[in-house]
Assembly symmetry: C2
Homo-oligomer: 880 residues x 2
């Protein structure tokens, strides 16, 4: 694990140092004379020299973090503002069309329905064609990327364009969709692109560790400039994307998010939308007595109900997706007519919200933003039996219905929006679910608040002053609670404060959010984790809290004991056997089968390359030529020839690239992805695609399930049934054919004989890349600790050792199984003999001691034969 | 590293499982019949049975996290409220005394000065006597503890009592001291004590990992209930105490802090202090136009000035402490009269704040709380040339002076309070610096705000409405900025919002805080880090941002190459030599000196124990007896006797405790601490005490600098000059003497001969505790990555390996040196040959390959002699 990354880092650092030296040493000297020559003839030469120096200074500063963060914040604020502007224009257009056609209801309906359908269909089609990776929220993918997995297609310019345009259209349609999730993704793409752009000026933008840090900051910027909520943005992005967070990245997020939110709001002021910088959904609740202590139970009820509602939303969303996927007829039909599903959903939803139709009972004519503004309104809507009956002014009008009650309207609104939002977020367009959920939560809170206001018309407080109940405050609480429940975050509370610009309801909001989280977390995963599971991205489930079993389960209970390994003194035949018998992506390298001392780990591809390299026709031809030469000439011994060849072919890394280069174009089309597997295989070699575990061989060449090594180096297949296993076939590699034609004059029998002979040779590992320090655990490490280490270091496997000896291996899969077993209450599948064994005290130290004694004995026998060891010890029954 | 902890965890888990089984299986059965018998005779037996079941259910729930968090929150809220009440009473008493004596200024002065002097002196004396660990803030110590270091005396009941009472007296004196830092400490102690208390009911309270998680939550509770700021509390505690934060602990903090803040404020409502739950320092700034865009430069100026001010404060504070320590005459005098310094400082400060004296120019009669309330006031104090000159009402009166200007008063206040606070926080009483700094920041902000108001009497905005400048808003910004600069945190912004109950100034506050942080972080460490360095606690400096060199430095440049190791087949003499030649606390265990394959690590104490055990008089006597017996009886061979003995003494862990137990009382007084070393040595064996590195032998027995092993096991000293080296002397251990008297009939010459003979035996490691998987790095790991891993996993050393072979070691010390070298701009001390070596490309892979080839060659030579390896290779010049 470490070896791999640090190698890259090391190489990078070296190159970088070399480049910097070059830059500092050489570049200024040749440039300055020519430029000075050019400028000294002008009139204001000193000015220009000064400007030049400034420019040079600026370029040298480009590498600094804060420049990057400011640029990122600026760009994202502009994008956010421009998108908001475009979306508002789109919505305005719909309203204008709808308003203009008020003479004919049918025409009105046509306009109301067609407009969003066209926009959504365009968005879906555009995204599908340009970059299918832009579909959906993006937060699940960002969580995966920040875990260290590379999903390369997700951070390209193409995806950026697709996401921005697709999202603008999708939101412009007025569907219940959000922009928060996509904005996290957009900001990350922006950061990645900016990195690449700035690397043109030099600097450290190729560094992987740094890029991950910047991505974390970008996530914060995304949320921050979407809601003009810098603090909430930072916290939300941490909660949603990270498991462990480096506090040193913390201020990066704050810095960029604050700058971004500032610019975002300043743009609104400059555009004369606002007089000064204020909150996005400003509320005006009274400050002196925001709420009564006796209202707290009502807030708690909102919290608990929101918890159940949030879990239900996640469940509903997942079920809709699964239904679509499982129903094969539907699935097949939808795959063919990809744009039909979005159009259909949009049609249904917009029909139901048609204001003169059913929409009149659910404030259908309001946009999401207007809905929120009205829900956070300071006045009480419910009739209070007093003379000063409330006047519905302006957009508030939409909530009034002459033949209906405000309570009925709210209930209908909540119920309809609930399934609509759950359905709409499954449409394959760039969209988030945060904002719709937020609106539903606000409506629910408002409902409770209006009920309370109707119940206690003069407030609960019985002292001198009359403090009426503020239903808007309940709406704020409800919004925070439901969105917190769906996303499993506490920071929605902070977002709510920043959105409304008031913090007076802090305690009710905190109480409701915490209760909602407690309920929702015990029922369902968060929406983002749910999507991660649906999309089969690699993940590590969270440890539940208060589940004490996890302290009792240890690595020895969950590890795989029967692992294949490569020994230092093995033959090529052993390599072949190991590759045939296991699917592990990383093979441990041990000293010898007896000692089992772990020396490092070697990637499966490397083993395959070693083997194919050794058996390559190229090498065979070389042998042949050598043989012919030696038969003609001075005839050295056979073994020395073999050795010479072996060193020649494997003399290493400098020679290989030249051999590999011409293959690249031919192989370029090979690393295509299988449909079900969203992971770009370039670096992350563990394929999370479910297809790989099926008995059917995987069509994806990067998965390496198929042993056939034609993807990396040209050689004939080792397996007879290879064409079935490898759909590409061996004839794809032109070099191979050329070689075969050129000099392969051996008969198949001879080839087989030669190969058998070669397989009996000892493996020369000197050309293989070996991870010299793979991560190691001990058998007694608890599940809790293992989980922490895996998520801290982003591991996907670890070897279990006992005093240097390899005893097993734990991968993400085992860990996942163990945790989900313990979380679903089924209990971890502890191996029965082990579990019973563990009860006897001091068994662990015994085992350790025995192992050590074995090693010690071995050494005594080997190196110190003069002193007799305790030969016939009584603890010989331990397995070796 | 892992081995050690996980071993504990494993053992714990086992014990726990056994106990739970016992509890579930046995406890209910014997209890129920007896209890039912007792109750069935009563009238309401069903009720009681029900109550009993409830009780049992409750007890079973005690182990849950949320019960613990609620209890913690409740207790801390009560403590906070009670302390606030007591402090308010104390301050009230002073005011009453001062007011009652207004006939005579001298008497008034006496009362004004004596009262705080007595309180502070009492506080200092009380703390000194009961628990000196309670002195100071406590945040630095908590940071160290959360890093995994055990400072045991810091979390005891005694310290808790000392801290609570000491803090109450210190704050009751009216000195410029804060309660935030101490509250973090108090909450942590509370959590530790609660853990211990709840473990009486069973549950998982002994688990170390869990306790650390709970301590993290407790820190949040401490801040949260101190300011009634749950969100800010969580964030502040994260920023101040952690380097990496587990998001799964996040909600724990939120939950406990919210509950605590809620109870804290509810208590105020119940006590009729407040009508309902509101913020602690509620502000009433206008919501519709909180500030103008054109005021932002002024806020930025506040931020930057606060950054410089914060750095100056930290510098001043450190210089005062260092001056006190360095001036030997002062130091010696103060050590003798420990209470003189606090009394003197209090006398000076209270004299200067005496209201009829100099205090009238700096609002000396206001308490800290009143000062803040007045500074956050909504009105403008500066004369505006208008008719409605401002009336100073109530406590605002204090700021007015007939012969002075409000600007002068504010400037005097800021300057005086600045050095007073820096001085007062060095007094050895429990006290924090957050609140004083906060007040100074507020005053500075107010000063800027009043200046702005005087400059622009009608506001800057030139449109229709006149929006006057709100100086109170500037005060809020200043408070957040200066406290953020001193503590290097961004979350003071959130604390400020929660304290004032208004979030309308979010952007100015964020901008100022970020600028202040940027300035302060580049000038000085945070106040807490500064204290950590002064107290010489173990720490890892933060990586600066934008320092690219850290990507270029690699482990191979900073690691120690010349390390001592223990081989598996070494003799006791080798152990002795290793112990003599190195001071390393953890020794690597390698397979053999030739292969250098790292098998594990062994603690220095374990090696010492092995050695002393082998040479113990006890064993010598046994040998003697055995010899006598064998001479009498059947006379086995000499070597078999020796072996028998060896297995008997070292048959392991079960036998040893019995041997060790009786020693405990006699040795109990031995683990005392040296004066300069605050770390309790029980687990953390690396002594951070500076004295250890001096040539003088350390008087602290736990440091193990002295080889003399009389502290762990009785045996005669190996060194001739031991009495000089070990001030305790060998005669301290009664068992030894007894043994000596009982059966030591060997002459010194015989003993020496016997020992020489024993030293030539092979070491039997079976009784030693070996960490089977110490953390390993590779040579190419970058400094950046190494820092991340060390702070993530809380390591204090790591071995550097290359394909299983030990090549070096990196400890916290090397890392610290490298980072601070690179941070201070002096450049890292890269070894010149290495640095030049690195420039040539592909050198690293070469080295790897060579190493591997060596291993391979060795194996080929050893196991496979039938195939000739490439014997005379050209890369033999690499060092072995």
């Amino acid at each position: 694990m470490y070896g791999r990354y640090t190698q890259d880092l090391g190489t990078f650092a070296k190159d970088e140092a070399a480049r910097l030296r070059l830059q500092e040493g050489d570049t200024p000297r040749p440039r300055r004379p020519s430029e000075l020559l050019e400028y000294t003839q002008g009139r204001c030469a000193p000015c220009r020299v000064c400007a030049l120096q400034c420019q040079r200074f600026l370029i040298s500063k480009v590498g600094e973090d804060w420049v990057f963060l400011i640029l990122l914040g600026l760009v994202m604020a502009l994008v956010s503002w421009a998108m908001d502007f475009a979306i508002a224009t789109c919505l305005q257009a719909q309203k204008w069309m709808y308003g203009g056609l008020d003479t004919n209801v049918l025409l009105q309906y046509m306009a109301w329905v067609t407009y969003p359908t066209v926009l959504i269909t365009f968005s879906a089609g555009f995204t599908q064609i340009l970059a299918p990776q832009a579909v959906g929220s993006g937060i699940p993918e960002m969580k995966t990327i920040l875990r260290g997995v590379v999903l390369k297609e997700y951070l390209t310019l193409k995806t950026f364009v697709a996401k921005v345009i697709g999202l603008t259209c999708a939101l412009g349609s007025g569907m219940p969709l959000g922009k928060e999730g996509p904005f996290v993704h957009i900001a990350s793409m922006c950061a990645a692109l900016l990195s690449r752009f700035l690397s043109l000026f030099g600097g450290f933008y190729e560094n992987e560790a740094r890029n991950i840090e910047m991505l974390a900051a970008a996530c914060a910027v995304g949320v921050g400039c979407c809601f003009a909520a810098p603090i909430g943005g930072v916290l939300f992005s941490i909660e949603v994307t990270s498991t462990f967070f480096a506090v040193r990245n913390y201020w990066r997020g704050f810095f960029a998010a604050t700058f971004s939110a500032f610019i975002f709001r300043v743009l609104a002021v400059w555009n004369k939308d606002e007089e000064t910088i204020t909150a996005l959904f400003k509320t005006r609740f009274r400050l002196d007595f925001p709420f009564d202590l006796q209202e707290l139970p009502a807030f708690a009820v909102i919290g608990i109900a929101s918890g159940f509602g949030g879990a239900l939303f996640v469940y509903l969303n997942r079920k809709i997706v699964q239904f679509m996927r499982r129903q094969k007829t539907i699935n097949r039909f939808l795959m063919k007519k990809r744009l039909l599903f979005p159009a259909l959903v949009t049609l249904i939803i917009s029909t139901l919200t048609f204001p003169p139709g059913f929409g009149q009972f659910m404030a259908g004519q309001l946009t999401q933003k207007d809905t929120l503004v009205t829900l956070f309104d300071n006045q009480t809507w419910a009739k209070q039996g007093l003379s000063d009956e409330f006047e519905y002014l302006g957009i508030l009008e939409a909530w009034r219905h002459p033949r209906s009650n405000i309570f009925v309207t709210l209930v209908v609104f909540i119920l309809m929006k609930f399934w609509m939002s759950a359905l709409a977020t499954t449409i394959p367009v760039p969209c988030g679910a945060f904002m719709p959920v937020f609106v539903i939560g606000a409506a629910f809170g408002r409902l409770v608040g209006e009920s309370m206001a109707a119940w206690f018309p003069d407030g609960i407080h019985t002292d001198s002053n009359i403090y009426r109940i503020v239903p808007g405050g309940y709406a704020v609480v409800g919004a925070a609670a439901l969105s917190g429940a769906v996303t499993h975050t506490v920071s929605t509370a902070v977002i709510v404060f920043e959105l409304t610009g008031q913090i007076s309801h802090i305690l009710p909001v905190m109480i409701a959010v915490i209760l909602a989280n407690a309920v929702a977390q015990s029922l369902q995963p968060s929406l983002y984790d749910s999507i991660i599971r649906i999309k089969k991205l690699p993940y590590l489930p969270e440890l539940g809290w208060g589940h004490h079993e996890k302290y009792n389960v240890r690595v020895e209970d969950i590890m795989v004991r029967d692992i294949r390994y490569v020994t230092l003194n093995c033959k090529y035949r052993d390599l072949q056997q190991v590759l045939h018998s296991t699917k592990m992506k990383n093979l441990p390298l041990v000293e010898s089968a007896e000692s089992m001392i772990l020396l490092g780990s070697i990637e499966r591809t490397q083993v395959g390359a070693l083997l194919s390299n050794h058996l390559s026709p190229h090498r065979r031809l070389l042998t042949l030529r050598q043989k012919v030469l030696s038969e003609d000439g001075h005839r050295p011994s056979d073994s020395s020839i073999r050795f010479q060849i072996s060193t020649e072919t494997s003399s290493g890394t400098p020679a290989r690239p030249a051999l590999r280069k011409p293959l690249k174009p031919a192989l370029k089309r090979v690393p295509r992805r299988c449909d079900q597997c969203p992971v770009e295989q370039s670096r992350y070699l563990t394929c999370p695609c479910a297809a790989c575990t099926l008995p059917v061989p995987c069509p994806c060449p990067a998965c390496m399930c198929c042993l056939h090594p034609c993807h990396s180096l040209p050689m004939p297949c080792l397996q007879p049934a290879c064409t079935a296993c490898c759909p590409q076939g061996c004839s794809n590699t032109p070099l191979l054919q050329e070689e075969m034609i050129l000099g392969d004059k051996m008969t198949p029998a001879e080839i087989l004989e030669w190969e058998e002979q070669q397989l009996d040779q000892l493996v020369d590992f000197s050309s293989a890349k070996i991870d010299p320090a793979p991560f190691q655990l001990v058998e007694h490490t608890s599940l809790h600790k293992t989980h922490t280490i895996f998520s801290l270091l982003g591991l996907d496997h670890a070897f279990v050792t006992s005093i240097g000896r390899l005893v097993g291996m734990v991968s993400l899969k085992e860990l996942r199984k163990a945790i989900e077993g313990s979380l679903t209450g089924k209990g971890v599948k502890v191996r029965p003999p082990l579990a019973s064994f563990r009860d006897s005290t001091a068994s662990t130290t015994e085992a350790d001691t025995t192992a050590l004694r074995q090693l010690w004995d071995r050494h005594q026998h080997h190196h110190m034969p003069r002193e007799a060891g305790p030969g016939g010890d009584d603890d010989d029954d331990t397995p070796k």
